[in-house]
Amino acid sequence: MSEHAVVVTALVKEFDRGRIRALTGLDLVVDRGEFVAVTGPSGCGKSTLIHLLAALDQPTSGSIAVHGQPLPADSGARDRYRRQSVGLVFQLHNLLPNLTALQNVEIAMMGTGVKRRAQRERAATLLGEVGLAERVTSRPAQLSGGERQRVAIARALANDPPLLLADEPTGSLDSDSADGVLGFLQTLRMERNMTILMVTHDTRAAETADRTVRLRDGRLEAEVAEVQP
């Protein structure tokens, strides 16, 4: 089994028929259980990288392998990949407003073959882990920004993915809420040995990662900090 969780090689992503080049030949390796922060100025390709790793978009050229397997090209296989292999957290929580916190976590497990009762138990457990055991029946409008983002993290973890991709997860949160979210990501890294790739503008957030890589003009500029033990 590959030691590397993610291997990105010569990744290029162009938009608008090549007029915009978001990624210009990016190479990146993330080891299993590593928490990597990706920073860089606006438009340097950070979010594009997350989208490509999440199979939400297709690269123009280059390759991505996750746990030794190239990302699938087929639409159904990409759906399965998103369902089983990665968890996604966005800057905006993207919760469904009509559903409770519990149901928002459960929907990620629909169609996975997990029995409904087990889905419910797992969703409740995850919400307990993110500190929302008392808010399971609350709808997003009844939750604070930090609480919503924690529900979103619980949803991302619903199918127990080995890789968590977070795109500015603290971008819309106040400092206290941001600390709570970052603390939980660190816990995931420590207790579950989960591989986490987090895009962030926030240098304080980046400091919580094992390693920070900086992008500029669509490729790796430098590794800012070395791996912590």
Partner: protein, 375 residues
């Protein structure tokens, strides 16, 4: 609150947009109401019309081709003689049917002229009193249902239009429509109607073992001015009104279907534009395109199903009210069948598909990233 599944999601999504769901369901219900009412009305009128043919015990009937209404059919008795002369024909009875308005409760009452000697062969059983005399001018028999309804019995007099008849007996044909009619000698009715030598219908029985279709073909070949009727499908050849009613039913149903489907599409498309981001999120967390289609179609199907149930119920009420209209009493006896339910469900399913398939496919085809950027 149980674990969430697709049906829960559908229910909650509809519940979150109550007013819109109710309005769409109302549009569907009105469409289904129209379809049910038209369907029952048409089917009942067809049954009433066909009932005339079923009074006589026959293998098939013969009437003038292409008339607007079966009761306007006029067949010459020379044609009757020709039919009787065919070797495959066991018997052929010519009857004259005259519809009259008895009173406001009986806007369609039939006087049927049948030769007295043919009554048994025609399938008429005298259940009380006696049959009328062959050459009587003022004797009639009443169907036992008609007698009961009118409160008359053998020996009583009965006024019809400007004539008074003596009721000689009561009969049964084994057929509700026939048992609500009256019968009198053919020649007497022909004289009354000033139609000597003319009958409305021939009721034909073939000899045992004969090929009925071949006999029908022979009659139609020999007598091109007539048409033979055996099934409901044949009926349109001798009653253009029924063809028009069927066409109106079809046209009305298609219109109702279109209105319902447009209502559903309007709501579903609106929902699609409002919830594009939501669909993107669901795709981002791994929902397949099929599941998105199922969600959107499921929401439309649930609205259509509820609309269909309400529409069927309202349709039944509407049909009952229609049957009370003075002009339809006696002509329109509602006959509800399982087919009405299936038809309503079928139309509701069509409304769902026509109205929601396109928005569902659009929602499913949208790339998740593009959908999530939608504001």
């Amino acid at each position: 609150m149980g674990p969430v599944n697709l049906v829960d999601l559908i229910r909650q999504n509809l519940g979150a947009r109550k007013a819109r769901s109710i309005l769409t369901g109302t549009a569907v219900a009105i469409g289904i109401l129209t379809i049910v009412a038209l369907g029952v009305l048409t089917s009942s009128l067809r049954q009433t019309a066909l009932s005339v043919l079923r009074i006589g015990r026959a293998d098939f009937s013969v009437a003038q081709e292409g008339v607007s209404d079966l009761l306007y059919s006029a067949v010459d008795t020379t044609d009757l003689d020709h039919v009787r002369s065919l070797p495959e024909v066991e018997s052929a009875i010519g009857v004259l049917v005259s519809p009259i308005k008895l009173d406001s409760d009986h806007p369609l009452f039939l006087k049927i002229g049948v030769p007295a000697e043919s009554l048994t062969e025609f399938g008429v059983n005298v259940v009380e009193g006696r049959a009328y005399a062959t050459d009587a001018q003022d004797e009639i028999m009443l169907g036992y249902r008609a007698a009961s309804d009118l409160g008359l019995k053998p020996g009583d007099s009965m006024q019809m239009e400007d004539r008074t008849y003596t009721i000689t007996g009561l009969f049964s044909t084994g057929q509700v429509f026939g048992d609500k009619a009256s019968m009198m000698p053919l020649t007497a009715l022909q004289a009354e109607e000033r139609q000597p030598g003319t009958v409305t219908l021939l009721f034909v029985r073939v000899v045992p073992g004969a090929d009925i279709e071949a006999v029908r073909a022979r009659i139609e070949s020999d007598l091109p001015q007539v048409a033979t009727v055996k099934t409901q499908t044949d009926f349109g050849r001798v009653d253009r009104n029924l063809v028009l009613i069927n066409a109106a039913n079809l046209g009305g149903s298609v219109l109702a279907l279109t209105i319902g489907a447009v209502g559903v599409m309007n709501t579903t498309l609106l929902s699609f534009f409002e919830r594009t981001r939501e669909f993107g999120v669901l795709r981002a967390v791994g929902w397949s395109r099929k599941r998105i289609v199922a969600l959107v179609l499921g929401e439309a199907a649930m609205v259509c199903l509820i609309g269909a149930v309400v529409g069927v119920a309202l349709g039944f009420i509407a049909v009952r009210l229609l049957a009370r209209l003075p002009d339809l009493v006696g002509i329109f006896t509602p006959t509800f069948s399982a087919g009405v339910f299936w038809r309503a469900l079928g139309f509701a399913a069509l409304m769902t598909l026509l109205g929601a398939l396109y928005p569902a496919l659009r929602a499913a085809r949208r790339e998740p990233l593009e959908a999530m950027r939608h504001e």
